[in-house]
């Protein structure tokens, strides 16, 4: 593990321990009430979900172009985190929606696009897990198609009117609300980086072990 890993992990744990306090002290949103607090976890995990998806797509593309195993390991680690943070997003979303919109699930653009993208990420992991040898390339192809698909999902689902708050809502939030929010984003980003580093390292060790076994056989 890199030198910074342990101290960073401690800081990240402390930050996450502090998030409930920070969120509790954030100003009370009058229209949505207490349920608005979910937003402090929902939005950062949605951002990490997006980040994981983008990382996985770019790494897969690079893997397809030059075939370096390093990019494949990055893509795999990113895909796992995409599924993890996507799950957090998809669980916290309906909890909020139930209170804010009065229904658990709406077929709104971003909700649907997130669900479909998450399913593609899950399909990626299923392929890696059960595809057998050689599935790395196939998974990279799937990731590429999944990434290219996102605009189409957006346009096609957009036919149904959207009630999801627009992205522009974030900068307009009062500073007192933005502070805790950015704190949560920082915590999630740190968690993402830590998990990502750990996962890539695990894959590297695995590859090294495989190489050792192979050389023993010879």
């Amino acid at each position: 593990m890199p030198k910074w890993f342990q101290p960073a992990a401690i800081v990240c744990a402390l930050m996450f321990a502090a998030t409930p306090i920070v969120i509790a002290n954030a100003p009370f949103e009058s229209t949505m009430g207490l349920v608005f607090k979910i937003f402090f976890y929902h939005m950062p995990s949605a951002w990490m979900f997006l980040l994981g998806g983008i990382l996985c797509g770019i790494a897969s593309l690079r893997y397809l172009i030059n075939g370096a195993a390093r990019h494949d390991r990055t893509a795999f680690a990113a895909a796992e985190l995409t599924v993890l943070f996507g799950l957090l997003t998809l669980v916290t979303g309906p909890l909020w929606a139930r209170k804010a919109w009065g229904t658990w699930w709406v077929w709104d653009v971003r909700v649907t696009a997130s669900l479909v993208s998450w399913m593609i990420a899950v399909a990626y992991l299923i392929l890696r897990r059960y595809g057998g040898p050689g599935s790395e390339k196939l998974a990279a192809g799937l990731a590429l198609f999944g990434m290219a698909n996102v605009p189409f999902i957006y346009v096609s689902v957009n036919y149904w009117r959207t009630i999801h708050p627009a992205t522009s809502v974030v900068p307009t939030l009062p500073v007192s609300m933005g502070g805790p929010l950015w704190f949560c984003v920082a915590s999630f980003l740190m968690l993402f980086i830590l998990l990502f580093t750990m996962r890539v390292r695990l894959e590297e060790q695995r590859a090294r072990l495989d190489a050792v076994y192979l050389s023993l056989d010879e």
Binding site: L64, F145, F152
Partner: protein, 226 residues
């Protein structure tokens, strides 16, 4: 050279199909069974749910298409002919395009029988009143479905549990095609066809086709190389 290789692969697939009929008959029968099951499930007292015909037609196409994709490539695998195809001194994209056209031709044949059947069982005679629109949407949607499906089925040929993996990978990716195709078809079911909306869905399908065929042509080469 490129077009010739493509044509030869397409002709080979069609010849095998005409002689054995294996994939065509099984796919067609499966699609018809699908429609019947949905008819039993959804039609009550002779009344079908609104827009049901559009959704059902595309469900049947997607299900039957998955079956056809799996079978065509299984045939290539069993006789080790895909390796021969890939070893042939021709551009890989030509192999992909030949296969894609074969699947599209097969599904088009299935659709010719499927559309009247759905129209009959789901009281959707309106489906047959705008043949040009319907044909355009059917072709655009089928090409989009088959473009992704052909690539995935070819990729999975060497993978374990490929039968299960094909729909698992394919369906999430073709969600936009399904939405656009179903909505586009549903527009035709309205008493007054809103051509602007129909154009929108058709354009979306066409864009999808162009982007994904291009992407598949590029991906086919690195993905099919061991």
């Amino acid at each position: 050279m490129f077009a010739r290789a493509m044509w030869l692969i397409l002709r080979k697939d069609l010849t095998v199909e005409v002689r054995s009929g294996e994939v065509a008959y099984t796919t067609l029968f499966f699609a018809v069974s699908c429609v019947l099951i949905f008819a039993f499930a959804l039609v009550r007292d002779g009344r079908a749910p609104e827009d049901g015909a559009a959704g059902l037609l595309w469900i049947a196409i997607a299900f039957a298409g998955t079956l056809a994709l799996g079978r065509t490539f299984e045939r290539e695998r069993q006789s080790e002919t895909l390796r021969a195809l890939l070893m042939a001194p021709t551009a890989r994209p030509a192999v992909y395009l030949g296969k894609l056209l074969g699947i599209v031709a097969l599904l088009a044949g299935v659709e010719v029988i499927l559309v009247p059947l759905v129209a009959l069982l789901f009281n959707a005679n309106a489906l047959l009143e705008h043949p040009a629109w319907l044909a355009a949407i059917l072709i655009a949607g089928t090409v989009g479905f088959a473009a992704v499906g052909t690539l995935f089925a070819a990729m999975l040929i060497r993978a374990r549990s490929r039968d299960v993996l094909l729909p698992v990978l394919l369906y999430p990716v073709i969600v936009p095609v399904m939405i656009a195709a179903v909505r586009g078809t549903a527009v035709l079911l309205q008493p007054e066809v809103d051509t602007q909306v129909a154009w929108f869905w058709l354009a979306l399908l066409a864009t999808f086709d162009v982007v994904f065929v291009t992407l598949a042509l590029w991906t086919f080469e690195p993905v099919m190389t061991d």
